[in-house]
């Protein structure tokens, strides 16, 4: 279990910095390093996920996707990014300029804050609170404020309708995300990500938690997709109804921020799902099969985490490119009449199982 531990790397950076510098300077430098790393990660995730989405969508739709820029169109997203940066940032005449410009940054900020608590690999962890899950769900839903501001300040009725839809949607589905995560918290007995991961050493919770864990996982995937405003829950954008919903009036870099944030949010939701239900960076272990477990340990934890995340992201893309979009009242009915009651019963059921010690 000790191979590929990033803790030795982070510790060595910390000690080498501490030799000559005062503790506060060390903290500041570490902050800068982490911020830089996250910025790089953010850009990289955006580029890779946009490319992946376009290719996966293309294969679902019997076409090739981007093929011209670079081999298999690999440089397409980079070219698009350059185009977006060079584009004129238009602002509508009667827009509330301050809020209009602020909105994309609020969304970006919330995704950055959420990335901070993500356990990427063993020991690779910017923040490890004792209330990690609470923090992550709280922060990742801050983005809706950005969407509401964007819709309000654009001075466009389509944007406003999109923003209002988004508000109703994210607030509703936040409940289901939280409750389905709590189901596993009951099992793991902790809100801290590192402890939740450590508790899955003998097997991932989705396999060990009986039916309640499976139900919770299903609900989490549905609600998580809804929270990222992706199809079939992409009502705030609803291309065929609202042209582009809340970001109708945005162009250039500010549009790119919304666009990237959607993809990074998808990564965050998939990351939480992978960590809580599929063991995060924990390799695939089966009970006390020592030999099997040791072989699995040879695969670095970073690969495990990103592999699981990639799988969940693929699932979400699969939803998007298969299902038609729901209507707003149907969307809210699904949450309040079906998912939420099921979730509440499920969490009681899980508590009962844990009390009786029936889980594996």
């Amino acid at each position: 279990m000790n191979i590929y531990d990033f803790k030795s790397l982070t510790d060595s950076i910390h000690t080498s910095l501490s030799v000559n510098l005062s503790p506060s300077a060390v903290t500041i430098i570490e902050f800068i390093i982490i911020a830089f790393a996250f910025m790089m990660l953010f850009t990289l995730l955006g580029l890779i996920l946009v490319y992946a989405e376009r290719k996966i969508a293309a294969f679902f739709q019997l076409r090739l996707g981007p093929m011209r820029v670079g081999k298999w169109g690999i440089a397409q997203t980079a070219a698009d990014a350059i185009k977006l940066i060079l584009k004129e940032p238009l602002v509508t005449k009667n827009a509330d300029k301050f809020l209009f410009n602020l909105a994309p940054f609020i969304i970006i900020l919330s995704t950055f804050m959420a990335l901070g608590a993500m356990p990427f690999a063993k020991g690779l962890h910017a923040l490890d609170f004792d209330i990690g899950i609470l923090y992550l769900t709280a922060v990742s839903s801050l983005g809706v404020i950005g969407i509401l501001i964007a819709g309000w300040s654009s001075d466009n009725k389509y944007s406003l309708i999109g923003a209002m839809r988004s508000g109703a949607q994210v607030v509703s589905y936040e409940l289901s995300v939280g409750l389905s995560l709590l189901t596993v918290v009951v099992l793991a007995g902790s809100l801290q990500f590192s402890e939740i991961i450590a508790s899955q050493e003998a097997g991932w919770w989705i396999f060990r938690g009986h039916i309640p864990a499976l139900i919770a996982f299903t609900i989490f995937m549905i609600a998580g997709t809804a929270e990222t405003n992706r199809g079939p829950f992409d009502l705030p954008e609803a291309e065929s109804e609202l042209t582009a919903g809340f970001h109708t009036e945005y162009s250039g870099l500010k549009f790119a921020f919304f666009f990237l944030a959607e993809f990074v949010n998808m990564f965050i939701i998939a990351g939480i799902g992978a960590t809580v239900f599929l063991g995060g960076w924990m390799p695939f272990h089966i009970g006390n099969w020592e030999g099997f477990n040791r072989i699995m340990d040879f695969i670095p934890s970073l690969f495990w985490f990103f592999g699981k995340v990639a799988f969940l992201i693929f699932l979400m893309m699969w939803f998007k490119w298969t299902f038609p979009r729901l209507r707003i009242d149907q969307l809210l009915r699904l949450e309040w009449k079906y998912l939420l009651p099921i979730n509440l019963v499920n969490i009681l059921f899980m508590a009962f199982i844990v009390l009786m010690g029936w889980h594996f």
Binding site: Q61, R63, G231, S240, T322, L326, R327, Q330
Partner: protein, 377 residues
């Protein structure tokens, strides 16, 4: 006004206000330059007012200056997805005036290509309908199969969309030697692929929620609005011109007029899917033995219709398309009037869309299968 919304602090009803939205002329789901003025309260639609004129080309007026052979080319530009049927309507009306009987070969070829056109139009509609619902994948599935038909057209007459294959007095060219082989191959292919359409959309829970009971049009309303084609047939209004006033080779073939009673968006969807099966069956009945003979009868270089009034209607993919010609005996009509199915179908939109959500309006509009240049000539 919404009666349920109250201010939680004072207990008084909230002051709500109706507002307007211009949907179009540039909007992804009006499929053309249609402008709808929506009166909304929240997301609920109170009134839909279509505004036309953004693609008006005064086609009917232009017809008064053109010869009958030239008019054919203008009809392509109306309902471009059923261009062959539009051409056929004018050709039949002129042939009716000239009192010439078409050879069997012409009739059969016209019918086969009409049905292929109907198939391609319904395929495109199916793809776009999925896209309007947010399932973008269906769009490309529809186009994949449509492409095969369009390729057959290209080989037959050189054009892919605005075909001009019909001329008064027959066809412009004979069919390509490959025509029968490729059409048979297509029907065989599409019989395999049409169930795929059902797998992707029809049984889906979300799809059924979005379409069942949405935009109900009763049979009486369908008749009084003059709604024809699959849209009218989904309300139980038997209006298939191919059945009631058969033309070309339709008297020889056996097919069912697809009728449903519900009159909602789902019924309109199912009618079109079922019509694709019927079209394939019509093609299969005719393609095996296309009679030998001439592909056109000899007409004068410049056709002059005798003084009188002529009316011919055909069934296009959208409904009943009529051509009304008043001739003073000259080389061009004194007045020509088109009865386009899209215009009447659009007139029912406000009736169907009252009280639904914006998202439903898109669904209803999509199931009406509007082609804007057909409405706005």
């Amino acid at each position: 006004m919404a009666e349920t919304a109250t201010n939680t602090n004072t207990g008084k009803p909230l002051e709500t206000q109706e507002y307007f939205i211009n949907m179009g002329p540039q909007h992804p789901s009006t499929h053309g330059v249609l402008r709808l003025m929506l009166t909304l309260e929240g997301e609920t639609i109170h009134n839909v007012e279509p505004h036309l004129g953004y693609i008006h080309r005064s086609i009917e007026k232009m017809c008064e200056k053109d010869t009958y052979a030239q008019i054919i080319h203008l009809t392509d530009r109306m309902d471009y997805l059923s261009s062959h049927m539009n051409n056929e309507a004018v050709s039949l009306a002129v042939e009716q005036g000239l009192e010439v009987e078409m050879p069997e070969r012409v009739k059969v070829i016209r019918t086969i290509i009409s049905e292929l056109t109907r198939l391609s139009s319904h395929q495109l509609w199916w793809g776009v309908f999925g896209m309007d619902l947010g399932a973008i994948t269906s769009f490309l599935y529809g186009f994949r199969d449509r492409e095969m038909i369009i390729d057959i057209f290209e080989e037959t007459c050189g054009a892919r969309l605005t075909m001009n294959y019909n001329v008064p007095g027959g066809l412009m060219f004979d069919i390509h030697p490959n025509f029968q082989k490729r059409t048979k191959a297509f029907v065989e292919h599409f019989r395999q692929k049409l169930p795929e359409y059902d797998q992707l959309l029809t049984g889906n829970v979300i799809f059924e929620m979005r379409t069942k009971g949405i935009g109900i049009l009763s049979k009486e309303d369908a008749i009084s609005f003059g709604v024809t084609g699959p849209t009218g047939r989904a309300s139980g209004f038997s209006n298939d011109v191919r059945k009631h006033n058969p033309y070309s080779a339709y008297p020889q073939v056996e097919f069912n007029e697809v009728l449903r009673e519900e009159g909602d968006s789902y019924a309109r969807y199912k009618v079109r899917i079922q019509e694709m099966w019927e079209s394939m069956s019509i093609i299969e009945q005719l393609i095996e033995n296309i009679p030998e003979g001439d592909y056109k009868v000899k007409t004068k270089a410049v056709i002059k219709l005798p003084k009188g009034e002529y009316y011919q209607k055909v069934e296009t993919a959208r409904g009943e398309f009529g051509v009304y010609i008043i001739s003073e005996g000259g080389k061009s009509p004194y007045r020509l009037k088109f009865r386009s199915p899209g215009f009447s179908n659009l007139s029912a939109l406000n009736h169907m869309a009252k009280g639904v959500k914006i998202a439903d309006l898109v669904v209803i509009m999509s199931t009406l299968d509007l082609v804007i240049p057909d409405i706005d000539r």
